[in-house]
C-alpha cells in the first residue's frame, strides 16, 4: 500500500502557498518520513524558485479562474483583502497517487510524528473534529458547529483517507456541494456566502452519516491545535515555536506563548511567510 501526503498550493497576489508547501514538505520528511505530492497551478514558479526535489510528484492544476475574496489579518491591527482559491479540493481523491493519503493545508506546521500512525490504521477516513485554540481567549464555539443551528464542524485542514468506493462517493459529494453551494448553505443555515471547505466537508460527513451524527469519519489522533491570523508566529527553531497571541480585551496587545513538539495550524500566513523566509535564508 503506497502512502503519502498531498498538498495543494494555489498562489494569489499576496500569499505564496508554493513556498509554504516547500517548507512543509521538508518538515513532513523530517517528522513523518513519508513522500509528499504537490498539486499547483504554479509549476514553473516552483521549479524556478525552489526546485522539485522536496516532492515525490508534482501535479499541474488548471487555473479555473474561480476565486473567493476575504480579509487576511497579520496580527490584530493589520489586515488586507486578497483573493484565495479554495475550490476543487475534493479532486484530491482522483489526483492522489497514494492508496493512503493525508490531505494537508500548507499552513499546518508539522512538529511531531503523531500523524504517521494514521497510515495502516483501521479507519478509512479520519479528520479532526476536536480543536484547541492555543490562545484560549477567543470564543471557540464557531468550531463546534458550522452555524449556531446546524451540524457538527469538521476541519478540512487535515484529512486522512484510503482509496475506497465509499470515499469516492464522499469526495464526489463534496464536489457536488461545492457546485451547489448556495443551496447547501441555505439548507444548513450558514449565513455567510463564502464557500469554505470545512463547511462542505462537514455537510458531506453529515449526509454520509444518514443525516445524523455517526461514525463515517473517525477522529485523527490528538486535536487540531491552531492560532488565528490575529496572533503572530514570532520565532521557530526546529520543533519549537513562539507566538504572540492576542490579549483578551486589549486590542493590539499580545502574550508570548511557546510550543514545543506540537503541530500547529498557523492561520496568520503573513507571519508564517516571514518565518519561512528566515528558515530558507539559514539553509
Amino acid at each position: 500500500m503506497s502512502k503519502g501526503i498531498f498538498l495543494i498550493a494555489r498562489n494569489n497576489a499576496h500569499i505564496d502557498y508554493v513556498k509554504q508547501a516547500v517548507f512543509l514538505a521538508r518538515r513532513i520528511k523530517k517528522y513523518l518520513g513519508v513522500p509528499v505530492t504537490i498539486a499547483t497551478e504554479s509549476v514553473d514558479y516552483l521549479e524556478l524558485a525552489f526546485g522539485v526535489d522536496d516532492f515525490d510528484e508534482v501535479i499541474t492544476l488548471d487555473d479555473t479562474g474561480e476565486f473567493n475574496q476575504r480579509y487576511f489579518y497579520d496580527g490584530a491591527l493589520s489586515k488586507k483583502s486578497a483573493s484565495f482559491k479554495n475550490n476543487n479540493r475534493a479532486s484530491v481523491y482522483d489526483l492522489t497517487p497514494y492508496d493512503e493519503t493525508i490531505l494537508m493545508d500548507t499552513d499546518y506546521v508539522i512538529s511531531n510524528d503523531l500523524l504517521k500512525s494514521c497510515f495502516g490504521s483501521k479507519s478509512n477516513f479520519s479528520i479532526y473534529k476536536k480543536s484547541n485554540d492555543i490562545a484560549k481567549v477567543r470564543d471557540e464555539q464557531e468550531f463546534d458547529t458550522i452555524s449556531n443551528t446546524s451540524v457538527d464542524f469538521y476541519w478540512a485542514t487535515v484529512v486522512y483517507f484510503r482509496k475506497t468506493e465509499t470515499n469516492k462517493i464522499f469526495f464526489d459529494l463534496v464536489k457536488h456541494i461545492e457546485e451547489e453551494w448556495n443551496h447547501y448553505r441555505r439548507v444548513y443555515q450558514i449565513t455567510s456566502t463564502l464557500f469554505r471547505n470545512d463547511f462542505a466537508f462537514s455537510i458531506a460527513i453529515h449526509i454520509m452519516n444518514g443525516f445524523q451524527n455517526g461514525n463515517f469519519a473517525q477522529e485523527l489522533p490528538g486535536s487540531m491545535m491552531y492560532t488565528t491570523d490575529t496572533d503572530i508566529l514570532w520565532q521557530l527553531k526546529e520543533d519549537e515555536m513562539m507566538f504572540l497571541v492576542e490579549k483578551k480585551d486589549y486590542l493590539g496587545e499580545y502574550t508570548a506563548l511557546k510550543t514545543q513538539g506540537q503541530t500547529i495550524h498557523v492561520m496568520n500566513k503573513s507571519s508564517l511567510s516571514r518565518i519561512i523566509d528566515q528558515e530558507f535564508a539559514n539553509d
Partner: protein
Amino acid sequence: MDERLEKALDFSNYMLTLNNQKRLLAEKYQESLIYFYSGSQFTLTRELITFVSAMISAEQDEIVITDDNNIPCMVENLEDFYGEIVSKYTNASNSYYTAYADLKKNRTVEKLVNYE
C-alpha cells in the same frame, strides 16, 4: 506608574504566561499518551492500565478492547500489550513531570518562553 501597581502588573503578566505554558504542557502530555496498536488508537489512562492488569490477573490471554474511535480491537498478547502501555504511560508522565518542574523554576516571562 505607582511602583506597587507596576510590580503587580508584571506579576500578572508572568502568571498569565505561566498558566498558558502549563496548559500547553498538559495538552502535549495528552498527545504523548496516545498509543497505537494494530491499527487502533488508544489514549492511555489509569483505567485502561488497571483494566488490562485485571484481565491478566484473571488469566486472560487475549481480550477485545474498544479504541478511541469505538472500534473493537483484539489484543492477542495481553502481557506484551500491558508492558508497552505501562512503559509509554510512565515515560510520558515522567517527561511531563520534568517539564512541569522546569517550567516552575522560570521566574520571568522571557525565561518561560525561552526567548532570546
